[in-house]
Every structure is written in structure tokens, then in C-alpha cells.
Amino acid sequence: MRYGMVIDLNRCIGCHACSIACKIENATPPGVFWNRVFQVEEGKYPDVKRFYIPILCMQCEDPACIKVCSTNATYKDSRNLVQIDEQKCIGCKACILACPYGVRFFNEGAKYFSIDVPWGEAEKDHQKGTVSKCTFCAHLIEKGDEPACVSACPTGARLFGNLSDPKSALVQLVKDRFGFQLHPEFGLNPSVYYLPPKGSTLGVVYLTLKSSLGKE
């Protein structure tokens, strides 16, 4: 079993709903964004296109962060997901500098939300002075749910599932639509795949309609 995610860049409209859903679900401290959406421009005028790319922890198979963690605070849990034990982290920040995907954050503060309404379901006590990152919403996976960013995406750009099953929709999509990993040459084997953007609004509408019609 290897959890993975496929993000269709044709569908991502840069609404940042995933970032907000992640912040609500995991109650991350100020300045900490386990999930971010970046705007990318490509090409030279007049042949330019712009698209959005969400960046989150790549859940590498052979993570660079685990190797530089001197306290074993970063570890792989029973589901093969890379996690941080905030109780063990000493905040040396080596993993932030070692991660080639830039998805780790230093918790400058711990408390964020000022109201006592229970929002997300993750543990809200982030420890000040430790490092945190996306957990793939392990607490939701435990219950059989999808990560918060996946269920929040209004265009259905994200697909979550099992990468080690060759018949899964994830693997099929990656195969059919030329899915790629970021920095595959580093050999870390990230579990997040992206489907290359074609860059046309019509195409996005078409794909969205097609899949939503196909579902029903």
C-alpha cells in the first residue's frame, strides 16, 4: 500500500480552497502552509500560458528529510507516510533545508484560532519551535476519508488513492495523461504526481464536464 495523489493541472483554477481547507483541518500556525498554490507563467510573449500548481509534501518513498533528522522525529508511519513527531523534534531546521521540495515549515507560534469551536479534526496543539508539514491528513485516512484538500477541491483536480495498485484510477491517469513527478532525477520517488496542463479554458471545461457527466 502506497498512498499517493494525482493533481490535474488542467483543472486547478488557483482558488486556494485546498490551502484553506488544509489550514482549517490541521489548524496550522500563522505563516505555515502545508499546502500552497503557486502561479506559474511559461513561455515568451506572445506564446505564453499561465497555470496553477499546488505544492504539498510529496511523501517521498526515499525521503531526504528522514536522513538529516538527528532525533528520528521524522519517520515513516505504518501506512508508509512520512510524519513528524512534534514531541521529538528539537527544531534544528536541518530538514527544512534538506527537503528539495520546500514543503516543511518552522512553527514560530503555536496558537492561531481565537475561537474555541472545533474546526478540523487533527490535533491542534502544534508545538512552538518545531517543524511541521503535510501529513496527507493521516487522521482522516485512518477513518477511510480523503485528505481535506482533496475533498475541498471544487474542480476535482485532486485524486487520492493507492499508487501500488496498477489497476487504480491514479496509476491509470498517470499512464494515460503523461503524469509526472517533480524532480524525478533526485531519486526520492515522490508520491504526488501531476498531470501536465494544456492551458486552454475550453479544455478544462470539457474535461470537467466529461468527468462529471461520466460519474452520474
Binding site: V40, I53, S70, C89, L97, P100, G102, H183
Partner: protein, 302 residues
């Protein structure tokens, strides 16, 4: 690969001070021991090296701990020395300090067991000399192992740090032995040390230049790092602190001293020595601050 670039802000002054003290301390310890093992004269120099070397490395430790997010948990840093250089450094530093304190205790303090048995002292010197070298090398490898910063990802940074450590270590020896009655033998050992230091300064300049040229031609991120040093935000610190204050002026002052008569220039020596030390600190800081993290945004798929 389309990338996003950010100057790293995680390791700054505290780590620079730590790297500086650890390098300087290990350097002066190493040079002190070399003097004891190979030259055997002017033993006060070795004593100064062993004593101040150990003390300076210990001085660096608080900065390392202060930089942690959770200072109360610093002892856990040694849990995983298998891959992590922070963990390996924990043991290298610990062993160096413990052996150094034993060395001080036996040799310099009243017990002086090692003074009686020279063989024991030599064995201890050799073992801890290896650890002193390990401390110098480790300060470079610690940075080298950080993958997202391409500017640090080269063995040249290790060589640069070792040479800077030896250079500042020698200055430290000279600095603390200035008031000592000089010259147990025929030649003045301090003169020799200062000449060695001049050679090291030239070497350091060459390696720094080679390092920067190399990095300017490596990746997009390391190009940005070099640019920030040469003509960017860090240019004052780099040109003023590292190049002029740390390398050019000390060398010129030393050359001037060499050509003129020997007497009455202790003040100049002192100034140039202090400059080398400041340059060593600025070197660490500017290399840390110039580190640009490169994170991917998109592959080149066209």
C-alpha cells in the same frame, strides 16, 4: 525545471557564530598538536592551542543550542547519527570536548600525568587531533548535506571551511601567546606561524574564488547565491567583511610588516590578526545568508 527561489532564513548569525567558534577552536587545537608532535619545541604554544582550542569549541556550543526551536531538547540531537550530520556532529563535538578537557586536565593542570609519560600524551594528541580535524570537516559537511541549497552542495565548501578554520586557529594561537616570552629555540615559532597563515590566506582566497566561479556556473539557485554576494544584498558584507577585512588587508599588513624592520609593529600584527578573525566570522555568515533554496514548480515538459 521551473523553480521558485528563496533566500534561506533558517540558519543565520547563531549558526555562523557556532561554525566560526568550532572551526577556530578545532583549528588552534590541531595546530597546537602538530607543533607538539612534529616540532616538539615551544611547548607553550601547544598548551595554548590545546587549552584555547577546547575552550573555544565549548564557547560555540551555546549558539548551536540557542538556534534550536526547542532548546530544552538539545540532548536528543544524538539519537540518529547514522545519516544525519547534526547527529554525527553531536558525537564529534562531544568526544572532542571530553578528550580536550582530559588533555587540559592531564597536561596543563596540576595533575600533569601526561607530562610524565610523553607516549600517553602523544596517543591522546593523535586521537583528539583526528577529532579536531573531524570538527573542521563536519562544519562544511553539515552545510553540504542540505539538499535544497545548491550553493552549499560542493566539496569546496568543506575545503574552504577547513582552511579558514586552520587560519583562524593559527591567529588564535598567536593572539594568546603574544605576551609569552618568545623563542625557546633559535627561530621564533610565531614568525613561522604567521608566515604559514599568510600562505593559508592566499590559499583561502584562491579557493573562495574557485568556489564562487564554480557556483556561478552550476545551477540557477547557486547563480543567485553568488550574485547576492557579488552585487546583491550581501555585497557590503562580502566585499567589506570577507574580502577586504578578512583576506586583503591582513595579507597586505603582513607583507608590509615583513618588508619593514621587525620591531615596534606589534600593534599592526594585532590589528591584522583581529581582521582575520572578523573575516572568518563574516565568511561563515555570508555563505549561510547567501544560501538560496530552490524548490520545483514545474518540469520542462515541452
Amino acid at each position: 525545471m521551473k523553480e521558485r527561489f528563496e533566500r534561506q532564513t533558517y540558519w543565520r548569525w547563531k549558526i555562523a557564530l557556532y561554525l566560526f567558534f568550532a572551526g577556530m577552536g578545532a583549528g588552534s587545537y590541531f595546530v597546537g598538536i602538530l607543533n607538539d608532535l612534529f616540532w616538539g619545541k615551544a611547548l607553550y604554544l601547544s598548551r595554548i592551542g590545546v587549552f584555547w582550542g577546547t575552550v573555544l569549541v565549548i564557547t560555540g556550543i551555546p549558539f548551536l543550542i540557542l538556534d534550536l526551536g526547542r532548546k530544552d531538547r538539545f540532548l536528543r540531537a544524538g539519537i540518529n547519527p547514522r545519516f544525519a550530520w547534526v547527529g554525527r556532529g553531536f558525537y564529534i563535538l562531544s568526544i572532542f570536548i571530553v578528550l580536550g578537557v582530559i588533555h587540559i586536565g592531564f597536561w596543563i593542570w596540576p595533575f600533569q600525568i601526561l607530562e610524565v609519560d610523553r607516549l600517553l600524551r602523544i596517543v591522546l594528541s593523535i586521537i583528539n587531533g583526528v577529532f579536531a580535524m573531524a570538527v573542521m570537516v563536519y562544519t562544511g559537511l553539515l552545510l553540504k548535506s542540505m539538499r535544497s541549497v545548491h550553493f552549499w552542495d560542493t566539496p569546496l565548501i568543506v575545503i574552504l571551511f577547513v582552511i579558514s578554520a586552520l587560519s583562524t586557529g593559527i591567529i588564535c594561537l598567536v593572539f594568546f601567546s603574544m605576551n609569552h616570552p618568545i623563542g625557546e629555540g633559535n627561530s621564533n615559532p610565531l614568525d613561522f606561524l604567521l608566515k604559514t597563515d599568510s600562505v593559508l590566506i592566499i590559499l583561502e582566497t584562491l579557493i573562495l574564488a574557485f568556489y564562487l566561479v564554480n557556483m556561478a556556473n552550476a545551477t540557477e539557485a547557486s547563480k543567485k547565491s553568488v550574485a547576492s554576494l557579488i552585487h546583491g544584498e550581501l555585497k557590503l558584507l562580502f566585499w567589506g567583511g570577507v574580502i577586504v577585512c578578512g583576506l586583503v588587508l591582513p595579507f597586505l599588513l603582513k607583507a608590509f610588516e615583513g618588508f619593514s624592520s621587525r620591531s615596534g609593529l606589534a600593534g599592526l600584527t594585532l590589528i591584522s590578526n583581529v581582521m582575520v578573525l572578523i573575516g572568518g566570522l563574516f565568511l561563515r555568515y555570508s555563505i549561510l545568508a547567501a544560501g538560496v533554496q530552490a524548490t520545483p514548480l514545474m518540469r520542462n515538459y515541452r
